[in-house]
Amino acid sequence: MTETRYTKDHEWVRLDGAVATVGVTDHAQEALGDVVFVELPKPGREVTDGEACAVVESVKAASDVYAPLAGRVTEANEAVVDDPALVNRAAHGDGWFFRMELSDPAGFAALMDEAAYKALVDSL
């Protein structure tokens, strides 16, 4: 049973057991424009809630990507490093950024659900 939640910083988080997969939302990739560079955290890195741990750059600008919750990074998606445009093509799928083991999986429930995130995007 997987569920996807969202952050106010336009990241999506999909929880599978205690492992969360993190990416940027379609709204984010659309706003960024053509992604040309992605930098990901190294597996094993401990991150705190809200810590800047990845970078996504378009032709226009660089943006930080934050850890949605505290935990330990377990996997980085080298496919988006090799082909950054994957973030534009498949933001919610193959364009994921990293996976992390959450320190407190219960914190996941505090993130926005799809309806709340949609309301946030519509308000922008």
């Binding site: 990241e11 984010a28 706003a31 226009k60 660089a62």
Partner: protein, 378 residues
């Protein structure tokens, strides 16, 4: 995702000025952003990358109506202008344009300008962010008896790319016959215009000054030509960076001199000998002794772009300078940057290091431009 994304999305505040093409931009699906007090398109549907590459392969139309347009006329106009800039304007023939720099008394750059001789007047194109200050500075620096006018009633369009000349052959043969940096007053598709064969992309192209009321009609005609698509500020910035051209306020400002900015070529031979321009003492001294720092091109190794303000360190670990413009080159498919470095590490081929976040990225000093210019041959 950090805040810049939200800023790009935010609707411009109400007090922003608009250009005569505002409605057209919105119909064309532009994403509008605030820039220098104006609401302007940063990109259209295809996006910055596609617009950039289209400019290099065909032709793009840019709305640069935010830029300042001035005219200066009267006996001795060129000589009077020379007190403010280091270019040789007394030798600028009618029908010709020259790039120059408005300097302060210590040789700092107040703005970079295009100045064209239209026979009965000099026409000056200034940066949007500087136009009010420039107009004040120029008016104050002129002797009485000259006529200096601003033209907020005129818009400016830039048609850039290898297909631009063919478009002008159809709509304005007189413009198509101009050499690089030539200017003419002629109708484009029946609409009266002031045209220069120049631009800010490194490609052949034209900048067309037109009355505000006729701008949309002209833009519509140009966009109807085969191969012409609209392009926004995003592509304009990546194109000018590939072409090694300075952005005022980023690569040059009041604290940089023409010599440091590697723009000494704009200083006329006679002006070097005679001086007599604002900041001449500092500038001529730097020409003789060499500046402490110099604007250079940088090619980072690897894929990470180095943005403005990235510290540059020499291989011995000492501070070497800072990046002023940096990003990704769509043409080269690799990061490129410009910045100022100490003169002893400014030679092309010098290995340097860029401090990007927590990483030390090797980079090499390279000659500018990154992508060869393809201006019209004389």
């Amino acid at each position: 995702m950090a805040e810049p994304v939200l800023n790009i999305e935010a609707d411009p505040p109400d007090e922003l000025r608009t250009t005569p093409l505002d409605a057209l931009h919105r119909r064309l699906g532009a994403r509008m952003v605030p820039f220098a007090g104006y609401s302007l398109p940063v990109q259209y549907g295809p996006g910055v990358l596609a617009e950039h590459l289209h400019t290099r392969s065909s032709a793009s139309l840019f709305d640069v109506s935010h830029m300042g347009q001035f005219t200066l006329s009267g006996d001795g106009a060129a000589a009077a202008l020379e007190s403010l800039v280091p270019g040789d304007f007394q030798a600028l023939a009618p029908g010709r344009q020259r790039y120059t720099l408005l300097l302060n008394d210590i040789g700092g750059i107040l703005d970079d300008l295009m100045v064209a001789n239209y026979g009965d007047r000099l026409m000056i194109v200034a940066n949007a962010s500087r136009k009010d200050a420039d107009a004040h500075h120029i008016a104050q620096g002129l002797p009485s008896g000259l006529s200096f006018d601003q033209h907020p009633d005129r818009a400016l369009l830039a048609l850039q790319g290898p297909a631009a000349a063919g478009v002008m052959e159809r709509l304005c043969p007189a413009a198509a016959a101009l050499p690089f940096m030539g200017v003419a007053e002629a109708p484009v598709g029946g609409i009266s215009a002031w045209i220069s064969r120049s631009g800010y992309t490194g490609e052949d192209g034209f900048e067309i000054s037109v009355a505000a009321a006729e701008t949309e009609a002209l833009a519509t005609q140009l966009l109807a030509e085969p191969g012409v698509l609209p392009a926004g500020l995003g592509a304009r910035d990546s194109l000018r960076l590939e072409a090694g051209l300075c952005l005022y306020g980023t690569d040059i400002d009041e604290l940089t001199t023409p010599v440091e900015a590697d723009l000494a070529w704009t200083i006329g031979k006679r002006r070097r000998a005679e001086g007599g321009f604002a900041g001449a003492t500092v500038v001529l001294d730097q020409l003789k002794t060499g500046p402490h720092r110099l604007r250079v091109g940088l090619r980072p190794t690897g894929k990470a772009p180095a943005r403005a303000k990235t510290p540059i360190v020499s291989t011995d670990g000492t501070a070497a300078g800072d990046v002023t413009s940096g990003g990704f080159s769509p043409t080269l498919g690799a990061p490129i940057a410009m910045g100022y470095v100490r003169r002893d590490v400014s030679a092309p081929g010098t290995e340097l290091q860029l401090l990007v976040r927590d990483n030390i990225l090797p980079a090499q000093v390279v000659s500018l431009p990154f992508v060869p210019h393809r201006f019209a041959k004389a």
